[in-house]
Amino acid sequence: MKDVDTLVSELVQVTRKKIQDESIEDPMMIGIHTGGAWVAERLHEGLALKTPLGALNISFYRDDFTRIGMHPQVTPSHLPASVEDRNIILVDDVLYTGRTIRAALNEIFDYGRPRRVILVCLVERSGRELPIQADIVGEYIELATNQQVKLAGPQPLNLSIVDAAT
């Protein structure tokens, strides 16, 4: 697996090219709390985006509430500008089942109707359960179901593969 700094600088390059090639006007970047927000911070800086960075905490939109209950939420969502008719770059650390992204999209649409949403992920791992895919991915990793990719942070960011707690 590549180290985080390499992945981040590659993501900055590819995302910058996409913004230019497709003339994506004044995008608002939104990181998903907590790992995605850390990655988004680095990308936002690297791309020197004009609109301030936003953060989503999707606890209230999770689909497993009735099964595992509420996760204590300390950092609320914060979107610095209206999403109405805006281009959005959604950032997460690890794309796995796709459920987090579904929840994030639901939450974004409760703030308004964006023009376009692009998904950027640091890592994608095997095991998707929903038809959701990223536009830009740093690295794809094939993993067994009992393994997890963990991003430690915020300073420094560090990726590791761990055996999931049973």
Partner: protein
Amino acid sequence: MGYKNSIQLTKDKKLRHFLTIEGLPRAILVEILDNAESFLTVGEQQVKKVPLLRGKVIVNLFFENSTRTRTTFELAAKRLSADVLNLNIATSATSKGESLLDTLQNLEAMHADMFVVRHALSGASFFIANHVAPHISVINAGDGCYAHPTQAMLDMLTIRKHFGAFADLNVAIVGDILHSRVARSEIHALTTLGVNEVRVIAPKTLLPSAIESMGVHVYNDMNKGLEGVDVIIMLRLQKERMDGAFVPSEEEYFNCYGLTEEKLRLANSHAIVMHPGPINRGVEIESSVADGKQSVILEQVSNGIAARMAIMSMCMSGIAAGEV
């Protein structure tokens, strides 16, 4: 205390009913406040809803009139995407002779998930919580003179938003302590959250006996009691709960215990003025104070929606996740 917690908490110490603040650990109160702060942002969304309680049925069971509490509970439930039934018992089956337990069983048969109960008798919500099916959560929206815990939590949220922390604060609760379920719940919440000092300011006729045992300082003289306080919680003179002569007249009560601009100057200059509503202008509070810069009375109402969202979702989550 043990009994109260055994019914309010699941085996793994999650909230499942919310009946009284008494005996709840500080961690639960802080969790309520943290969640409530997050829910405040939902009010800023274009679609002011989150899908947490989608498909849940919440029944507002109001045996006693209320506008603010019932509507904020209703709005809170709707912002959590729950379905809400408002039952005005005064005009329903109980007045045709149906017993309370029969009414409850009928509501359970309609697959209700939560009862929000307001009742004129102290302990009514405990009684209901003891008799509902295990998947149902009960929230006390005010019972008799006993407790009004959601009001206390929205007030704690308002205080924390203004001061950030509780440890250095001196809080005065002024007025009809005797008939006030709000006062009792506020005192439990403030002492659990660890404020510096809780004072109650009232004439002797409107103070319950042995109130000092709740850990408060008693003042009969409002001018002395307001010195150096950061938060003033005014209470309504509850005429409907009085069956004797507790105060000589409203005018005299206002002279001694009404919050005027002049008296407000005795408190710290940054002090905030709170009131659970409905306010009696000119009885316990001067109009210019109620509408003044230091008044946070309307903020309390907005915070009430978020605090109730937090409590409702935590109770439902406790039942979903925990072993009952």
